[in-house]
Point group: C2
Chain length 457, copies 2
Amino acid sequence: MATRTLASWAIGLTSSTIPGSVKQAAIRSLYNYLGCTIGGANHTTVTRARDALADFCGRPTTTVYGNNGALRMDPEHAALLNGIASHVHDYDDTHLSTIIHPTGSVASAVLAYVEHSPAPTTGSDLITALIVGIEIECKLGLSVWPSHYDLGWHITSTTGSVGAAVAVGKLMHLTETQTIHAIGIAATQATGLREMFGSDTKSFHVGRAAQSGLLAAQLAKNGFTSSEGAVEAKRGWANVMLGSSDSTQKLDIYCSTSTTEGLGRTWETERNAFKPFPCGIVCHPAIDGAIHLHQELEDKAIQLEDVARVDIRVHPLVMELTSKRTPKDGLECKFSVFHSVAVGLAYGKAGPAEYADLVVTDAAVIVLRDKIEAHIDHGLRADEADITVAVNSGDVLHRHVDHAVGSLKKPMTDLQLTKNFLDQCALALGERAAERASSLAWRIAESNDVAALLRDL
Amino acid sequence: MATRTLASWAIGLTSSTIPGSVKQAAIRSLYNYLGCTIGGANHTTVTRARDALADFCGRPTTTVYGNNGALRMDPEHAALLNGIASHVHDYDDTHLSTIIHPTGSVASAVLAYVEHSPAPTTGSDLITALIVGIEIECKLGLSVWPSHYDLGWHITSTTGSVGAAVAVGKLMHLTETQTIHAIGIAATQATGLREMFGSDTKSFHVGRAAQSGLLAAQLAKNGFTSSEGAVEAKRGWANVMLGSSDSTQKLDIYCSTSTTEGLGRTWETERNAFKPFPCGIVCHPAIDGAIHLHQELEDKAIQLEDVARVDIRVHPLVMELTSKRTPKDGLECKFSVFHSVAVGLAYGKAGPAEYADLVVTDAAVIVLRDKIEAHIDHGLRADEADITVAVNSGDVLHRHVDHAVGSLKKPMTDLQLTKNFLDQCALALGERAAERASSLAWRIAESNDVAALLRDL
């Protein structure tokens, strides 16, 4: 019954029944999404896809963000490109319980539909649809986590197409049966193998999930049929995605309206976290510490060349995932705790500019990087780190990070999100346009006509 | 190395190194594909999708078959719609070792590219590309069969996107590296859950695989990157599609150029079979027998109302898959051996018209259907059946079918394929246009400019 439960819950949800804190979390997710999407718009992954698709595109009705409103494509291709851009810098949001990046697929599809829709969409309806999509993809993710990811699926896109379909369906006012069919059509398009990580195809997954979800809703609206048990059936989504037939118990927990962890009882949208740094999330605590110590070095007027050595103690996953000693380009820097800590110490920040290809050859960073020793500490939590800087003078600076900035215990403030947005978007749009886009993106939830706002982004 | 081997083999293949019998099999596959696609063009599944997509379509450069050249869409959407149409009547070809329907996805993508390509494509190049696609999808299918299908994947589409990508890539003259990336981009879009069987989404899988394959080739051509071990890696296609990590042995057998069962050694294109009847293939032997007995009844001037009872002995799978006693529409008739044998006896044929919704209420068919008793016989092969008709006069007519028409031991002749083509296409186009289309479809392999021929279909 999971499929019907999801559909029925999605249809019944109204803005007035959603807690204010959940809506606020969704507004922050949408804002952060737009920053990432604009910031990613000129990445070669996106421009390669854009060039490849040019011949196939339909009427240019829908904004491809990051071009100051100058680039439009048909809704399907806009959803694809915006979805790719949202994920390409690894700077997007993270539902920490499943490591789904939830907003990319859902927002890319929903916003594409908003510009395509014959009637204006209010910000309030948009946020409700976004919440529907995020909740459903995360509940599906929880139902198959972690075996599904371990097997090799990119969980963001395998769940994202369904979230996107239901979210778009919500704005289309699909009936329960149509929503069930939309879930099935989306579920059967299970894009995303982990083997593609490290290539253009990784962020393609997010865009394709958005596009598949939009297509699913559009087909269902036109009477296209699917299974009524797409999620829970013996050969349906959950079992196939697990590679086995043991989905029932978890579906009963998460895709239910009567359990504590179920739909509308625990809101996954509130469990969504934002990245302060555009790199592997596991090394964020160490970066957080490094940035604090940068300030201390400055305060004490200690020069970088006077640093003798740096010792970091980190959670085991840090060295499993981000242990690249000598990264060779910006992409590899994102998976190097050494580079990340070095830029934190050297510049007091680790934003998009600090992961540009150029920084790899920055002598000051390289010298510092080579002074760093990493120590695995099994006693640390994933959002915890410890960093010690020994100076030639004999001084020792130390910082213990109990909960990294961006963790659920120490969430990013709106001001920090704004700074991230501006940092990313200024690179794509210039500073003035970035500020304009930021102010506009914060206002979407209050708009009476979202499409009108989007057309300038 | 499977990914590289597939790519390298595909690039190296030339028409002159392909045995003539394989090329002939591919020509028959293409011909049969066009008949099925034109015949399926007006099915509600196709028209629903067509209506749903109208708003998204780009420049109408590519023919949607079955409309006498009057309907064109952009290449991506044409590939999708033609792919759906090719499979919607369950009348398409079957690679019996894997039950992949191999031509639908590959041909839909390749033909869409042919009309999109700046340079003319010869029939010979088209057939080579088609063979490349069919061989690769079937070798991939053999590598994961049967666990993959049992797990719940629609093997036709999960392999079809890769076959389509490589086939299109062949015509694009992609380099080896680009072909590897195309394989990865296609493999990561693994559309098709078996749970969707019985709904519009089943045939959507074939169309979506065609579209995904075309997109993959187009992206790869523009430098879009993917994994270089997409098929064989720990978290790559084969292992994920099996739901486990045990793909190595079979990949070594089938995706190799040095084994007897490998690429260019055993040609899967020659193992492709064509359906004489648009229904579940397992009940074909019984229909074959029924049609022979129809003739005998006529020869002896025995009326249908004089038939006392009919006994059929069939392979166990017949009753597992096609045991519907009282089908309620044309679609259900396709999975009823009782309906199928009844129309065979009553009309001497079981073509598309005999599976139209109207026939379900045909009193003569219903009366006859209810006189049929089915007996499972574990001693029979899948392509074998036995049928006995007892007449009120005391006469007994009997027919044992050793190998059903359409089986590999008794393949469909070109004449029989032509008759099927005409039967299907006359319903869509009228008789004269169907004859014209048939003659044109048989000539494609000799054409110097395939696109010019396609534009009238």
